[in-house]
Subunit: 336 residues, 2 copies
Amino acid sequence: MSVLKPKNETKTSPLDDLQVALGGDMNAVNDLIIKHMQSEVPLIPQLASYLIASGGKRIRPLLTLASTQIFNGEMSRAHALAASVEFIHTATLLHDDVVDNSEERRGKESANVVFGNEASVLVGDFLFSRAFQLMVSDGSLEVLRILSNASAIISEGEVKQLSTQNNLDTSMDDYLKVIEGKTASLFAAACEVGPVIADQNKETIKSLRDYGMALGMAFQIADDVLDYDADRQKLGKTIGDDFREGKMTAPILFALEKANDEERAFWERTLGQKDQNDSDLEKAQDLIRKHDALGEGLALAEGFGDQAIKALRSVPDSAIKDMLVTLVPFSIHREY
Amino acid sequence: MSVLKPKNETKTSPLDDLQVALGGDMNAVNDLIIKHMQSEVPLIPQLASYLIASGGKRIRPLLTLASTQIFNGEMSRAHALAASVEFIHTATLLHDDVVDNSEERRGKESANVVFGNEASVLVGDFLFSRAFQLMVSDGSLEVLRILSNASAIISEGEVKQLSTQNNLDTSMDDYLKVIEGKTASLFAAACEVGPVIADQNKETIKSLRDYGMALGMAFQIADDVLDYDADRQKLGKTIGDDFREGKMTAPILFALEKANDEERAFWERTLGQKDQNDSDLEKAQDLIRKHDALGEGLALAEGFGDQAIKALRSVPDSAIKDMLVTLVPFSIHREY
């Protein structure tokens, strides 16, 4: 099983490796994305391309491509479904930025700032509809079932997040449910689609789904850790968005667990009562450091990472599988 | 063909008649609506039921039920699809109210005021996903195609409306495209679903679709006329929302067509530059009255109404067909 060992020695990331291995397919997906975001109403492609052209890791469509390729499934179907998955993701980003009043996304002004909240809401709806049109063209009711379920669960996760925001009684279990909904469910669906269209058996489909779910959990926890990471700050990246928005993420929950009375009062003021001043983020980072809450967060992510790798055990070895395995530690220890 | 004559002499509205004729079916639809808006996340049913329980005419699900019943289609399938249609409609209402910054809907505070814009956006997404889950359970790819197309067209119409808002160069053609997208396309889809699940031929499916499309156009134009109607004001209903939001609707377009220089300057200030004071709505109503713009609007609606009734000609006579026919003048001349 040495082939399964994370390739920490290599310089390229497993995302790069997947991009190269599936390069032609990703080009086909990008072409479909551009084609299907067109509309007679010019504001739609303008806004959609503003966000889509700004990059992003394209990890979800890559998962759909990889999980199809690994079972020699029909790649032209995977292209359309990968585009569909990316449209669902893009729609949720547009709506998230409105909900969070975000000002920045991927290092530039967010679409809601440039085009307004109204347009972001409506173009999100448009892309969401386009995602379903693409699935309908593919014609698999099973795929439609998987992705419509994922979409419902995403919005449930987002609403739950809204309910836990600024709420210091949020439990670790609440948090895990939020991220399972808002992030992991689409990772799971993106991975499940591949073996479904490649006509694999139930166990195999479940393996890929479990992989995607656990990877998504690890990915989101790592994301939440990065939002307090001073090293990332040194790279010129924005941090502290979650703190400002009062999101009850892993670093906060671990720091809260060990908080003394004075610290609890700090969290109560800054998160519970939304009363923050300029030095509070630094203070929050100090407390997080004091209690090793980022370390605890990464350990939690690694637990899910282990589950992800285990889920792939029954899948026959291949170069793509190798990349999916190495994607796990990369997702946890990435710097962006 | 005397059966086709609008029953103007009756006291009950054709909507009431449809509600009675399809009463058991509407109860089944309402049960499904309540069942499928449930979620582990309490805010979702709270917000959804706030809007859904507030009534509304339920005209779209009634159209799906009627257009199935008329061809003796399977009503249990119609129930699920009617609920799906109503979920799509409810999702767009939630998003519309956010986009328009509305404060009132159906005579009470709108959901965005009570629960916040964030929750309205996300619960809208949830209901939209639920709509697709219901369609997937039904299992007809053709229905999924019809309703995913309608959804995409609705958001295109809404974005186009955003682009024409406060824009005095908006043409009648632009306006018709906006309302075809935002309203008529879902009426058309709601009517098309019935003959599709009742296995009718292409011509029949097209007849019902054409009926729904033309009815939707007439319905929306009448809605836009009502928003300036002084008689409605006397009933204690809010008017002038469209004026305040700078929506370029039929009454404005007809008044603009005949505006002299001074009047044009008035529209330019109040709509183009969004500079409105307390007496401007009354002035706008005066100009609209002067040029009989509401009458012109109703005439435009009646043209579509005629198309709607014509589209039903080839459909065999029945009590339900009679109600669909009388629904046309009712939709144009209603007071609410």
